[in-house]
C-alpha cells in the first residue's frame, strides 16, 4: 500500500482538528442530528438555507460543516424511526421495520445504541475507504451504465420479495404497486405526464418521504389509537438500555456486512445509498439464523441497514470529490456550495487542494466520533420520551409530520397526499399487506424503467446488451439464483405456514 496515505491523513487531521473547524464540524453534526430526527426536514433544505451564512467562512470550514449536516442527518434519522416508527430521513425507512418493534418491546435503548455503534463503525470504515481508494472506486462508478443499473434493479426487485415475512404473492403484488406508483409524474424519456390527472403537483412524481411517512407514521398512529388501552403501545418494562453480550454477538457480523454493502452501493450515483439499507436488510434476513425474527424486533434488522446507510453516505462523496459528479440531491447542492466558494469540484481537487480534500475526509471521521459521543448519552433521554402518555405523544408526532411534509415543497398538497397514504397504509395493515416491499418498488420503479428504456435506446433495441456486459450479466445471474431459492418448494411451504400463523 502507498505510504503517502499516512502523510495525507496527517495533513487532513491537521486541518480538521483546528479549533474553528472542530467547532463548525460540531455545529454541523448537531444541526444534522436535529433535522435528521425531524421528519421531512432534510439536509437539502437545511444546507441551502445555511449557504449564505457560510460565505463568511473559509471554504474548508464551510464544507466541513455542510458535510456534517448531511451525515449527521443520516444518524438522526434512525432515532425517530426507532422511537415512533417515523422515518426521519428516507434512508432510515428500513430501520423502522425492526427498530420500532424493539422499542415496543422495551428495547428502544438497545436499538438506539445498536444504530449508533453500527453507524459509527460504518462511518469509520467508509471514511478509510474514501481516503484510500477514492480514485479507483470512481472508475467503478464509470463502469455503471444503463444496462448495469437495470440489472442491478432487477436484483433489487427480486430481493424486495424477501423483505416481506408473509405471503410471497402479496409481497410481489405490493412491489408491483410500488413500481406503478413510482411511475406517476413526467416520463423522463418522452416528457409525457402520466397518472397526474391534471394535478400539477404530481408532475414531478410522488415524494418518497411523503409515501413513507404516510405508510409508516400515520398508519401506525391510527392503528395505535384503536387499541383498547393506550398503555399497550409501548411496554412499560424497559429491559436494558445497553446491548447485552448476546446482542453484541448477534450484531457485529451484520454491521460488517452492512458496512461493505453500503460502501459499495454508495459509490453508485442514482439511488445507491438508498438501496444500500434495503439491500443490507434483505441480505441479513437471508443469511441470519434468526431470519424468522425479522420484522418482529431482530437486532440484525437495525444493525445492518444503519451501518449500510451511514457507509453509503460517506462513500457517496467519492464521485463528487473525484469526478465532480453528484450521486444524490445533497451532493448536487454540495457542488454548488463548493463552486460558490471558488472551488471547482472535479478530478483536480485532490491534487490542487490537498488540504481541502484530506481535511474534509479527516473531518468525516472526527464528525462520526462526535456523533457517537453525543448520541450515546442522549439515549437515556430519548427513552424517557416513550414514558410520556401516548395521548400526548401522538398529537406531537402528527404536528412534526405535518410541518415536515408541508415544508418539502411549501404546498398543502403533500400533506393531503401523506394523509391518503396513511389511510392506504392502515388498510394494508388490516389486509396484512406489507408496506416495505411497496416502498422498495417505489424507489426502483422509475429507475428501472428509465434505465431499461435508455439501455434499449442506446443499443438500438438489442436486449442482448444485458447479457454481454459482464457486470450486468452478473446481476442477472444473481437474480435468477435468488429467484430459484425463493421459489424452492420447501421454502415456500415454510412461508405459507408462517402466513397462516400470522
Amino acid at each position: 500500500m502507498d505510504m503517502t496515505i499516512f502523510s495525507n491523513l496527517a495533513l487532513g487531521f491537521g486541518v480538521a482538528l483546528t479549533p474553528i473547524n472542530l467547532l463548525y464540524c460540531l455545529i454541523g453534526v448537531l444541526l444534522g442530528t436535529l433535522i435528521g430526527v425531524l421528519p421531512g426536514i432534510g439536509p437539502v433544505a437545511t444546507i441551502a438555507m445555511l449557504l449564505p451564512v457560510t460565505f463568511s467562512l473559509s471554504p474548508i470550514t464551510a464544507l466541513i460543516m455542510l458535510a456534517g449536516i448531511y451525515y449527521g442527518a443520516q444518524y438522526g434519522g434512525s432515532t425517530s424511526a426507532i422511537l415512533v416508527n417515523l422515518p426521519g430521513e428516507s434512508s432510515s425507512v428500513v430501520t423502522c421495520l425492526d427498530g420500532y418493534q424493539m422499542a415496543r418491546q422495551g428495547r428502544a435503548g438497545v436499538a438506539l445504541a445498536t444504530a449508533a455503534m453500527g453507524s459509527f463503525f460504518a462511518g469509520c470504515v467508509a471514511t478509510l475507504i474514501v481516503a484510500m481508494f477514492a480514485p479507483p472506486l470512481a472508475e467503478v462508478a464509470l463502469k455503471f451504465g444503463p444496462s448495469e443499473y437495470f440489472s442491478l434493479m432487477v436484483l433489487g426487485l427480486v430481493a424486495a420479495v424477501v423483505l416481506a415475512h408473509g405471503s410471497v404473492l402479496k409481497a410481489v403484488a405490493m412491489v408491483l404497486l410500488g413500481l406503478l406508483l413510482g411511475l406517476v409524474g413526467t416520463d423522463v424519456n418522452s416528457g409525457v405526464l402520466r397518472f397526474a390527472f391534471g394535478i400539477s403537483e404530481l408532475a414531478d412524481g410522488i415524494g418518497f418521504v411523503t409515501v413513507a411517512m404516510g405508510l409508516f407514521g400515520i398508519a401506525e398512529i391510527i392503528s395505535n389509537l384503536e387499541l383498547k388501552d393506550e398503555r399497550e403501545v409501548f411496554t412499560n418494562k424497559v429491559t436494558n438500555m445497553w446491548p447485552t453480550k448476546e446482542d453484541w454477538k448477534r450484531m457485529w457480523k451484520p454491521i460488517l456486512r452492512g458496512t461493505f454493502l453500503g460502501s459499495a452501493l454508495g459509490i453508485l450515483p442514482g439511488g445507491g445509498a438508498l438501496l444500500a439499507s434495503f439491500g443490507a436488510y434483505t441480505l441479513e434476513k437471508k443469511v441470519s439464523k434468526y431470519g424468522h425474527e425479522f420484522g418482529k424486533g431482530a437486532i440484525e434488522g437495525v444493525a445492518a441497514p444503519e451501518a449500510a446507510n451511514n457507509a453509503g453516505a460517506q462513500t457517496s462523496f467519492i464521485p463528487l470529490l473525484t469526478l465532480g459528479i453528484p450521486s444524490n440531491a445533497v451532493m448536487a447542492l454540495m457542488i454548488g456550495a463548493m463552486m460558490i466558494q471558488g472551488i471547482a469540484p472535479g478530478p483536480q481537487v485532490m491534487t490542487e487542494k490537498p488540504q481541502l480534500f484530506w481535511g474534509m475526509i479527516a473531518s468525516m471521521w472526527v464528525g462520526n466520533l462526535m456523533l457517537v459521543v453525543l448520541n450515546l448519552p442522549m439515549i437515556g433521554l430519548w427513552i424517557k420520551l416513550l414514558t410520556v402518555p401516548y395521548r400526548i405523544l401522538y398529537p406531537s408526532i402528527v404536528v412534526f409530520m405535518a410541518i415536515g411534509v408541508y415544508s418539502l415543497s411549501n404546498n398543502p398538497f403533500d400533506v393531503l397526499l401523506m394523509m391518503i397514504f396513511g389511510l392506504l397504509g392502515y388498510i394494508f395493515v388490516k389486509l396484512e399487506c406489507e408496506p416495505a416491499p411497496l416502498l422498495l418498488g417505489f424507489i426502483l420503479g422509475p429507475l428501472m424503467e428509465e434505465n431499461l428504456r435508455r439501455a434499449m435506446l442506446l443499443s438500438r433495441g438489442d436486449p442482448i446488451v444485458f447479457f454481454t456486459k459482464p457486470i450486468s450479466a452478473g446481476f442477472l445471474i444473481a437474480s435468477i439464483v435468488l429467484l430459484i431459492i425463493l421459489l424452492l418448494p420447501n421454502i415456500r411451504k415454510k412461508r405459507e405456514e408462517a402466513f397462516v400463523e400470522g
Partner: protein, 150 residues
C-alpha cells in the same frame, strides 16, 4: 362462492382494482416499440401483472382458509385525517400558530379521552417549540399570523 380468507379476498380485489386502473389509464399514452418504448409500455406490463396476481390472491381466498379482518375504527381515521387537511390548507390563510392550534385540538379528539386542560398545555408547548425551531431556527417561510393581520 364462499370467502374463506377475508383478508386475501379484499387484498386480491384491491390489487385487481389498482392493476386495472393503471392498465386503463395507460391506454391514453403511446405504447411504442421495444426499441423506443413509449410511456405506456411499462405501466401496461406492470398493471397487467398486478391484476393477474390480484386474481390469484382472490381465487386463493376462496380455497384456503385465513384470518378475519380486524375491526376498523373510524374515529381516529376521521380526526387524524381532518387535522392534517385543516393544517395544510389553513396554514397560509390563518398563519402557523392558529393552524397548529386547530391541528393539535382536532387530532387530540381522535384519542381515547380528551382532556381539555392537558391538550391546551400541550398546544402551548408545541407551538413555542415549533415557532422557535421551524420558523426562527430553520427559517421555514411560514407566516405566523393570519394574512389580514400582517
Amino acid at each position: 362462492m364462499k370467502i374463506k380468507s377475508p383478508k386475501d379476498f379484499w387484498a386480491g380485489l384491491m390489487f385487481i382494482a389498482f392493476g386495472l386502473f393503471f392498465l386503463f389509464v395507460a391506454r391514453n399514452y403511446q405504447m411504442g416499440s421495444a426499441v423506443r418504448m413509449g410511456p405506456a409500455y411499462f405501466p401496461t406490463v406492470l398493471g397487467g401483472m398486478m391484476a393477474v396476481l390480484g386474481g390469484i390472491v382472490f381465487l386463493q381466498s376462496l380455497v384456503f382458509a385465513g384470518p378475519k379482518i380486524p375491526k376498523m375504527s373510524f374515529k381516529p381515521i376521521f380526526f387524524i385525517s381532518l387535522a392534517l387537511i385543516l393544517f395544510g390548507y389553513l396554514l397560509k390563510p390563518l398563519g402557523f400558530i392558529l393552524a397548529l392550534v386547530i391541528m393539535i385540538f382536532v387530532s387530540a379528539f381522535g384519542g381515547h379521552e380528551f382532556r381539555a386542560k392537558e391538550v391546551t398545555i400541550l398546544a402551548v408547548l408545541l407551538i413555542i417549540f415549533s415557532v422557535l425551531v421551524f420558523v426562527k431556527g430553520l427559517t421555514l417561510p411560514f407566516p405566523l399570523w393570519p394574512a389580514f393581520m400582517s
